[in-house]
Symmetry: C2
Subunit: 318 residues, 2 copies
């Protein structure tokens, strides 16, 4: 006579795997291997019962899907402009580990991302808040593309679909070229502005503004410092660039608010300036400079005259 | 006499919830409610068997922690240079939704990230592979910072700790300024190079190279197109920039291989060029231009003479 099945035997026979693997097995209450004398009426004993496989736990943090994420954002979503600006402004000073350049890219990016994380949640909560660390001072202080614009572009890049993405980005850069900075008046002035030479109050901030005619950090900042008689490091640089973070974040948030609440298509509204359009008429991307007398091709969409002031009339130096 | 328990009864009594909730219940094979006549020897029937609660799924994707991620990478890790280069090259052509600019930033970034995802796994598997979509053509075709460098910088930014991050980034940009491109000879030539004017074979690629003296896309690309007599869109642009993606990815991977396998500190090895150092001696970041005769401050760390050729001697035009 078979020994009655103990609980341990049952579990063993059922092949239950405990500790992470799927539990799945036929629990043979009275199988054909058992002595009929012990279990004389197979009908009385339960039919084989399968311990169901545990359903897969819902994964609270799935792998990030590919950008863009606009389908995760409802039509009613709107960035909170006041919050985004204030956080972008203080984010400039809060960037971890930054030097005298502080964190313009971190400020704009983290200010916008934080609002998406609060209001939308996933998948924005899956993204590191400090992707923009490197962007300060025009990429690690190199004076290249303004880090505040980069931080805003990262947000556009993760939300907006292909056909609208690039026009929205180039419009942001052209808006930057033509806008006087700084503008933002913070709710609370950060201690990092201590000892600034210029005044950034509501009454006097217009006197602290310049138009860069370039999205490049060193062009924007050097022109401002040279025009206003202030150094491009220290408290005035911080006061200017932290407020500029808020200005760029507000622009990005405003454009995205309109885009997301509307038809979700975007058409560029800032054309190439007239002078640069003249340059491109002789220097299109398709130009074949097969002899020294021919014009070469150009791969820029920025304002030419800012960096090439001697080449705005023809003939011009090569 | 109780009716023998059917399989359906068993499942029902066990209170098994199927379809998402936890399955947990005592399966009473022959409970005290059953007629002993039907199940005369309770010992012969199985003891109550509990379907074990599924262990909590291990969360495979925790929320991303803040950069840098170098502590997640072992000392034995090394980028596979051959794989990274080939994937960066083909990634240029594979960028989703890109236009004639294709995807230099996507190529470099995705080529490097894919190797980290394969070899290291988490947390790199938590990052979207298409963060670099916007970077093509110097940020959405604007001609700003070369997208291939941006893609590489994103990888440095997510791995390298603060004190080493910026010097490694500025070194990459200066290396780019001074390096002839393109260099890479792909294992398989991509169909996107079809109809190129120049030859990019091992025997002739040196004839297709130029040194940009700038990390800016439009400067790098326009100089190349003008020097080689080819347009800056179309097959030659693609052949050049896809190979450049591989070149930049190789540089980033090589520098990171040395960094990660060593002391994990980095000191800049590319100094500012002599001409630009002369510019900065009159135009330091601290300069106070409080009158028209004084020199203004400068916020650039790039090679000045490339874009300001008329200002390399003194006195120079303002």
């Amino acid at each position: 006579m078979s020994k009655p099945l103990s609980r341990r035997d049952m579990l063993s026979r059922a092949g239950l795997a405990i500790g992470g693997a799927v539990a799945f097995g036929a629990i043979q209450a009275c199988s054909s291997e058992d002595d009929p004398a012990v279990c004389p009426d197979p009908e009385a004993c339960p039919e084989p019962v399968e311990c169901p496989a545990p359903t897969e736990c819902e994964n609270p943090n799935p792998l990030p899907t590919a950008f863009p994420y606009e389908d995760h954002i409802s039509a009613s979503f709107q960035f909170d402009l006041a919050t985004v600006q204030e956080e972008a402004y203080h984010g400039y000073f809060a960037a971890p580990g930054t030097t005298a350049m502080r964190g313009c890219c971190f400020g704009t990016y983290s200010g916008l991302l934080a609002d998406l994380q609060r209001q939308v949640g996933k998948p924005f909560t899956h993204l590191p808040v400090n992707f923009g660390l490197f962007g300060s001072g025009g990429i690690a202080g190199f004076g290249s593309a303004c880090g505040a614009t980069l931080g805003g572009i990262f947000i556009i890049n993760m939300i907006v679909k292909g056909a609208s993405r690039n026009p929205m980005i180039t419009d942001l850069l052209r808006w930057y070229e033509r806008t006087p900075f700084p503008q933002y008046l913070p709710q609370t002035v950060n201690g990092g502005e201590n000892s600034a030479i210029l005044s950034y109050t509501a009454e006097s901030i217009a006197d602290a503004q310049t138009i860069a005619a370039s999205h490049l950090c060193h062009t924007s900042l050097s022109h401002w410092g040279s025009t206003k008689g202030v150094p491009v490091n220290g408290p005035d640089k911080h006061a200017r660039c932290a407020r500029l973070c808020a200005d760029v974040a507000k622009r990005v948030a405003t454009v995205l608010n309109t885009y997301l609440a509307g038809s979700r298509t975007y058409t560029a509204s800032f054309a190439l300036d007239t002078s640069s359009a003249g340059c491109v008429s002789c220097h299109p991307a398709t130009a074949l400079k097969t002899s020294p007398t021919l014009a070469g091709p150009n791969a820029s969409a920025m304002q030419c005259s800012t960096c090439h002031p001697t080449q705005t009339t023809y003939p011009h130096p090569k």
